[in-house]
Amino acid sequence: MSTRLRLFVLWVGAVGLGLLIAIAIWRLPGFGHYPGPYGDMLNSLAPYERQVTNVVTAINFDYRALDTLGEEFILFAAVSGLVLLLRGKRGESAGEPPNPPDERALVPRSDALRWASLGFIAVINLFGSYMVLHGHLTPGGGFQGGAILGIASILVYVAFDYRSYRKTTPKEWIEVVEAIGAGSYALVGLGAIFAGGAFLQNVLPLGERGHLFSGGTIPLINFAVGLEVAAGFALLFLEFLEETRTPKPEDIES
């Protein structure tokens, strides 16, 4: 293909795409003018139908709970895939870990960093737990709270050293917690079937709006997602940080 023809194809494509984007933007609803009926309907119905004050959580974990189940397993599959990829080389045997924490160089931390991180660990853990438990009442929920808790785990590494980090974030437990979190979501759905409802139907008593124990299965699913996401993020960081070791001769392929 000659340069002129290439340029011609480029310009046809660019002008065509530009036109399509211009038309799409032209037909967009105005800023802040939501056109569909469903959001407004749920906004006014969900607090009474499900006794929750955070409609977003009600949509995620009740009205569209099946979609969220799929999303949760996307995260689960992504974390599992990463673990498989990174551990492939290091081996799966339960013997000596491929990079014992004791072999890591001790990088000194300044007092300012150490004390600031230490303070943040407490506050962030508290905030994350609050968010997981109050997902159906205030903004946030299992996903956000779980991500915050997962990040808190790595602050131990920032504040102290790799050895303390591996002690406070034991890999064997984290893996189990992640699996329990992912599985419990599906189990809550199956439980609804055994209770005589449809899969993931909200069969538990709804309680009183604004209370911690309200919303039926919503806080349960929320908690399961919180466990899964917190453990998933912690596992991601663990696996990535294992890769930051100084390579030994047998780690490097010829």
Partner: protein, 79 residues
């Protein structure tokens, strides 16, 4: 659209451009974190609290942390 929202949209656009134009991966990870923080504030000023919290945890903290770990693992320690 009020003035605060306009300012945040412009800042997010600037932050995104700055992230793309930064070539050093280490700096890029830190600027990406700043961009995540700007996105968080944008979501707050358009009243999307749940999304803002997700963006704060994932965009401003988790992704840059993972990038930092990845950069640390591929960097030559002797450099």
């Amino acid at each position: 659209m009020n003035a605060l929202q306009v300012v945040m949209f412009l800042l997010v656009a600037a932050g995104g451009t700055l992230t793309v134009l930064t070539r050093d991966p280490l700096r890029q990870a830190l600027i990406f974190s700043l961009y995540g923080l700007l996105m968080t504030i944008l979501f707050v000023v358009i009243k999307a609290g749940d999304v803002a919290l997700s963006e704060l945890a994932v965009g401003a903290a988790a992704t840059p942390l993972m990038l930092l770990a990845a950069i640390a693992s591929v960097r030559n320690p002797d450099e």
